[in-house]
């Protein structure tokens, strides 16, 4: 599901304070715009980045967001990787269920991130950390 050849070098944003979430959003939006995503898609990608960065800030206290362009045969896209060495997610399947997030019923959270993007992959180990990769194609 998540693949592709990396074209450009990656940009990385450290997430430590709440304002770093805004920096990650800004970087993601710029990149999405350059790649050629429309306004609505830019807003969606930015929202997804925001959710992942916010989770790092809230649950892992520190981590990073990596943003890169991806390309496959005749298609372009964006990949965002959220990496932290936080507590990890205990029950991924549960977390991906609608209505589970603490924002319950407000549509956001990880199931929302999945809806906003074309692909999502979660690697997580309790006590070690979490890596979430998401991508979207034009």
């Amino acid at each position: 599901m998540v693949g592709g050849i990396i074209l450009n070098s990656k940009s990385t944003v450290e997430i430590i304070t709440e304002w770093d979430i805004v920096v990650a959003r800004q970087l993601g939006r710029n990149e999405a715009k350059i790649i050629g995503f429309g306004t609505v898609e830019q807003a969606r990608i930015t929202t997804a980045i925001s959710e992942l960065a916010r989770n790092i800030y809230l649950y892992a206290s520190a981590g990073e967001i990596v943003i890169e362009r991806i390309e496959e045969v005749e298609k372009y896209g964006i990949r965002i990787t959220a990496i932290d060495k936080g507590p990890g997610i205990d029950n991924v399947r549960k977390v991906m269920e609608d209505g589970y997030s603490t924002s319950g019923g407000l549509g956001a959270g990880l199931p929302g991130v999945k809806r906003l993007m074309d692909g999502m992959e979660i690697q997580t180990t309790v006590g070690k950390g979490t890596i979430i990769k998401i991508e979207k194609w034009i």
Partner: protein, 331 residues
């Protein structure tokens, strides 16, 4: 999307030229199409923005920016809508599963009323919702003994239904109709106490009738007292028995009692759904039931049960509030 964009622009342009109800109505019909095609709220705003841009090429960038702001904000709204849609699908799946479960339950718990020469037996058990919280179980040993368990699971829905199946299999393993009521209640209490969570209790009235000796032996675990009519005295007796509900505590002892049944005597076993018509002022439900039973005493046990149900349903304007079960053993 292109096609929708063109249609929307036309509908909007018509409205901006002429603010009529007709044009608004056309707009609403159009949005229905969009919803069907799963177009999200943020996309609708984007469609609107482009349409406005085309209709008014000189529009200020401030106004256009305001649409971008709205798009950004509506992303979350769109996610909420999608979440609700997916929850609706899940709900429908659950509803279908529930219907299947209900069918299985009623198949599992189907009880046939035994035919016994010397005893007239009748039963009516009507659930208030899909799943019945009452359960009647008969056992019959080749014209020597016939016994009955009248059960009411305290609790509703799926957990209650699962608990009920356990009661049924517990009773099935006891196999013989001549088991003592105290033994049966003690065994079931142990099974339920061990395997069901603490919020789940079962009340049970258990009676065994010795067909040759005309002796009815009974015990109760927190169940609505059965009613015994002695036709020689022309009197009713409540078969009180202070046994604890099944599943509360392990190793509970249950007492049992004996009655000798004479011609025209009967025992009326009920669940609390039968006595549950409290809003009828100062009528004492148990007295109403006794009077009713007397009125119908010349009918068969089955007809007595059916008439009682019909009468009480009428009395409560078809608003019985609980599962309704009546079993009659009539000599």
């Amino acid at each position: 999307m292109k096609e929708l964009q063109i249609q929307y622009k036309k509908i909007l342009a018509d409205y901006l030229k002429n603010q009529t109800e007709r044009n608004l109505y056309i707009g609403q019909n159009f949005i229905r199409q969009l919803i069907q095609k799963k177009v999200t709220p943020e996309e609708v705003i984007s469609i609107h923005k482009h349409a406005v841009e085309q209709i008014y090429p000189d529009i200020t960038s401030e106004i256009l920016n305001s649409f971008d702001f709205l798009i950004e904000i509506m992303v979350h709204f769109g996610l909420t809508v999608q979440e609700h849609q997916s929850l609706l699908v899940q709900q429908e799946e659950l509803r279908i599963e529930m219907n299947v479960a209900t069918k299985i339950q009623s198949m599992l718990l189907k009880t046939a009323i035994p035919k016994v020469n010397e005893l007239d037996i009748g039963m009516v058990s009507i659930p208030i919702r899909k799943m019945n919280g009452d359960y009647v179980h008969f056992l019959n040993d080749e014209q020597h003994y016939v016994s009955v368990a009248v059960t009411d699971v305290v609790g509703k829905g799926v957990p209650a239904a699962l608990c009920m199946s356990m009661v049924k299999y517990g009773l099935d393993t006891l196999e013989y109709a001549n088991n003592n009521p105290s033994y049966v209640l003690e065994v079931l209490n142990r099974i339920i106490e061990k395997s069901v969570d603490d919020s789940m209790f079962v009340s049970m009235f258990y009676g065994t009738y010795d067909i040759k000796g005309n002796i009815f032996t009974y015990g109760s675990a927190g169940h609505e007292p059965a009613i015994y009519y002695n036709s020689r005295d022309q009197k009713f007796y409540d078969l009180e028995s202070r046994g604890l509900l099944l599943g509360v505590m392990s190793e509970v002892k249950y007492r049992q009692y004996k009655i000798h049944l004479e011609e025209n005597d009967f025992i009326l076993m009920i669940t609390d759904g039968v006595t549950d018509f409290r809003k009828q002022g100062d009528l004492d439900p148990r007295n109403v039931i006794k009077e009713l039973a007397l009125n119908y005493i010349n009918l068969s046990a089955q007809e007595m049960c059916e008439r009682m149900y019909a009468y009480l349903k009428d009395l409560t304007d078809f608003n019985l509030e609980d599962d309704f079960t009546v079993v009659i053993f009539k000599k």
